[in-house]
Amino acid sequence: MKIDIRHIAKLSKLSIPEDQIERFEEEMQAILSMVEHLPEIEGSAVVVDTTNTMELRADEVIPSASREDMLMNAPQVAAGCIVMPKVVE
């Protein structure tokens, strides 16, 4: 797989100086070649491990946390909501 550092940087909202691009490309290519071997490990092709499964939860209400507690760490709160810089996607 070819690594396109400029595209990845754009998606991750990172600015990478032009003179660094080649270095990142080499390094990430090396990481990728290592990761590409993972599927060869025995058992890794199993998509769902049916020998180790989880219990599901009954659909029963558990009282929610208090709003004050939940919003305590927010840098800005207004009208019972967390406020963040205006974004429209």
């Binding site: 769902v48 599901l56 939860r57 659909d59 029963e60 209400v61 929610s64 019972g80 406020v83 429209v88």
Partner: protein, 480 residues
């Protein structure tokens, strides 16, 4: 619409499930609660918390999967879809990627006089996002996490629809099924169903698909219709002007009736799906899958076809009843008594019964009217004991009081008069009082007959047999 092109449509429909609690925590799943009151560390994505999957979400997903004739993947799992936006504080959505709960199904829909089979690629379960409220007075965007973690099913269709009309019918049919199964409130105005619409166009007869454009944020039936028409026309215009189409995502603006570019393919999100390490896989017992299949009710399209083929109802009447769970259940309950025929029953259910329910803004099932009393009353019309006019008087009573129609007829003297000498007296007096109408009739304007019979019915206080009045009136005029 330019008829050189064929429209190809696929829909991704999200429906909120009406479970008591959210998908991964025990917070209440309710619409319209005070902001940020149904929240906890799990659904706010705080570090160190672990999700626990709600079994009801899996059950509801399988019910819908059966309704859409899907294969149920009994061994399934969840995955992370990574993206960075404030509506999901974890910076990923817990969803399903390569092993959806249900796959490879289809839904038959009725479009015009045709049954169209729309392929269902997959159905998976996932969490809804928080609601962002863009409020300038607070100098930013407010986040309400009540909706964050509300369970969703996403239903992805094959690109099998060929018009905006088909897509609208498909969505309406899906909505009715959700209501029949009782797994979603399916209120589009509250956002409990939302659709992403994929549209491409190709020259008529072409085998290859054209370039596909996704329109997001469509949340009404008319919106789906308009968004498809708008996008198809936009694409055709580009092609007709020698332009090139690009795979891109656009946002539907319902108020403006148009879409705007959201992101091009170059900026397409890379969601980096990977298996959710916080949840193990799970296996659904075969008995559960089979039991849920056995519990599947008769669905709206099957009902419509049964009403047409077995009850002899018109397509319009059959569909109007079948597309409303309330009307259909009431109609079926009446039919199950075997006391009256389907045609007159459907007239009453769609007519007076629906009118009263609409006036009172309630469901038919919430009216004091009982199935027994309605069918008894209709049976009295069918065996000619009472006329339609007299039945209205009976109906006004039984709609509110549990009284036997036969008793009401007796007490109020509503029984139809079929004694010809009594009717003849009335016919004679109507003829005497309406010389002009009689002359009109003789002069060829036979449509005054309805008026004359109406006068007879009026004089008999609705108790005369209208068919007998009609025959006697014609005989009397022609013999005069």
């Amino acid at each position: 619409m330019n008829n050189k092109y064929e429209i190809v449509v696929g829909l991704e429909v999200h429906a909120e499930l009406s479970t008591k609690t959210k998908i991964f925590c025990g917070c209440k799943n309710e619409f319209g609660a005070e902001v940020n009151t149904n929240v906890c560390p799990v659904c706010m994505g705080l570090p160190g918390t672990l999700p626990v999957l709600n079994e009801k979400v899996v059950e509801y997903g399988i019910r819908m999967g059966h309704a859409l004739n899907c294969t149920i993947n009994r061994a399934t799992k969840h995955d992370r879809k990574n993206y960075f936006y404030a509506d999901l504080p974890k910076a990923y959505q817990t969803t399903q990627d390569d092993v959806p709960l249900c796959a490879n199904g289809y839904l038959d829909i009725l479009v015009g006089d045709e049954t169209r089979r729309i392929g269902i690629t997959r159905l998976h379960i996932e969490e809804d996002t928080a609601k962002l409220i863009h409020a300038d007075e607070f100098g930013g965007t407010l986040i309400d996490f009540n909706r964050c973690g509300v369970p969703l099913i996403e239903i992805v269709s094959e690109p099998d629809m060929r018009s905006a009309e088909e897509a609208k019918v498909y969505l309406e049919t899906l909505r009715t099924i959700l209501l029949y199964l009782g797994i979603s409130d399916a209120k589009m105005q509250e956002g409990s169903i939302r659709a992403d619409v994929n549209v491409s166009v190709r020259p008529v007869g072409a085998k290859e698909y054209g370039v596909r454009v996704e329109t997001k944020n469509v949340s009404s039936f008319s919106g789906v219709y308009n968004a498809i028409v708008y996008e198809a026309n936009r694409q055709i215009e580009v092609l007709e002007n020698g332009g090139e189409l690009f795979q891109e995502t656009r946002r539907w603006d319902d108020a403006a009736g148009k879409n705007v570019l959201m992101r091009s393919k170059e900026d397409a999100q890379d969601y980096r799906y990977f298996p959710e390490p916080d949840l193990l896989g799970y296996v659904i017992p075969e008995e559960t899958v089979e039991q849920l299949k056995a519990e599947l009710p008769e669905l709206p399209v099957q009902k419509t076809l049964r009403y047409m083929n077995e009850c002899g109802l018109s397509r319009a009447d059959a569909e109007t009843i079948a597309l409303s769970k309330d009307k259909a259940f009431f109609f079926d309950a009446c039919m199950a008594t075997g006391k009256c025929g389907p045609k007159l029953l459907s007239n009453w259910v769609l007519g007076e019964v629906t009118r009263v329910a609409n006036e009172r803004r309630c469901e038919i099932s919430e009216l004091p009217l009982t199935v027994e009393n309605l069918v008894d009353m209709i049976a009295l019309i069918e065996n000619k004991t009472i006329s339609n006019a007299a039945a209205k008087t009976v109906f006004e009573i039984i709609v509110d009081k549990d009284e036997k129609p036969a008793d009401i007829v007796k007490a109020k003297g509503l029984a139809q008069i079929s004694d010809s000498s009594a009717l003849q007296t009335i016919v004679d007096s109507v003829i005497a009082a309406n010389e002009k109408a009689i002359n009109d009739y003789k002069g060829g304007r036979t449509n005054v007959l309805g008026f004359l019979v109406g006068q007879c019915m009026k004089q008999s206080k609705g108790q005369g047999n209208p068919a007998m009045f009609k025959d006697m009136m014609i005989a009397a005029i022609e013999n005069s």
